[in-house]
Amino acid sequence: MGIISSGFHGRRQAENPATPPGQYETGSFPVLTAGPAPDIPTEDWEFFITTGEGQRQTWSWEAFMALPQADIRTDIHCVTSWSKLGTSWRGVSLDTLFEDVQTTSEFTTAHSYGGYTTNLPLRDLLDGRSWVAWEFDGAPLERAHGGPARLLVPHLYFWKSAKWINGIELTQEDVPGFWESNGYHIHGDPWREERYS
């Protein structure tokens, strides 16, 4: 136990096993980004996957929307200590997008419109663990929250769920992305409190 502050009582929330260590529940959906939000009309939107072997696949918005869609109910955890439980999303599983991709790469860099990047091991993206989501709570994803579409990797801290997602680059090495180069953890598992580097 740490230093006790006598006189500090805090505002306890009911213990919830769905909340990782050091997190507290919020009902709101805070917006946290490093700069202004880019504006990408769906006509201009494109999603790509590139491999180290020179393969490049792209989807237009129309082609993306024609893919099998999944409804996702999940908890999300921000490194700034808030967790939001039971959020509802709709989007395309990365398993669907990676169906025809052949690669020996084990790592990825997610690229966003506006230049943001974040790195993820490929295994964290597959097996029903991540999506490209375009709907939140039954409505198209707002621009401030990453619309038209964002990556959704809810089992990692939410900075890994790149807003304004543009594509996934497969890499041989684990290359630190934007926040990972600026003091944050290379992996970001909230259950292990992988917050800072």
Binding site: M1, G2, I3, I4, S5, S6, G7, F8, H9, G10, R11, R12, G22, Y24, T26, G27, S28, P30, V31, L32, T33, A34, G35, P36, A37, P38, C78, T80, S81, W82, G114, G115, A144, F178, W179, S181, N182, G183, H185, R195, Y196, S197
Partner: protein, 245 residues
Amino acid sequence: MSTLWRVADVVSGYPETETSRTIGLRVDGLMGNLPGQHIDIRLTAEDGYTAVRSYSVASAGRDEIMEITVDELANGEVSPYLVRDLAVGDQLEIRGPVGGWFVWRPTDTNPVQLIAGGSGIVPLMAMIRAHEASENTSPFRLLYSLKSPEAGFYREELLTLSEKSRKLTIDYVYTRKVPQGWPTAPKRLTAETLLANILPPDFYPETFICGQTIFVETVSEWLVQAGYPAASIKTERFGGTGGTR
């Protein structure tokens, strides 16, 4: 490593405004912080319950002491304790300083535009202090949006700097109450007022914006529309975490 919790001694505490307080923390072996970084503070109640919140560092020294300025939120869990109850001589735990993005380094050569909404001045003040203490000659300009003159942090220091500093210009916007003799009535910040009080795009400023989410969103949107490259704008928000800071 910055991820470890360390013990900090509270070495000073003085009121900044009616609802805020600047707290000095001494940490063994600390080598200061980069201007713009934050720390996490952990408070532990007698039964072991803990609460963690992030606070920007206001100071820019390279020693064992950091200062934070905490604004009390009416429904806050941690801030009322820090502003009202914490005493000099107490100890608490900190993690950090953290962050390598919303920071200014004395080796940066671009002109700098700082835009603060209310207590968003805190990390920008660290940049101003570091800039003043450095040999860096690039111009700094601060736009400080405030509800009223009484809500301002670091008032005397900023007044002195506005009179004496050759490399800092300060502009104020008052949204609810203006100082006596102020040329205009209080009004909401508009794009027009904003753009009239900051470095123009052809100065290629690096812009740092800090305040509540809505302030940061609105101001950064206006800047992009006015032709400031998005890549030159860095933002930091607070009050976004459910209002329970």
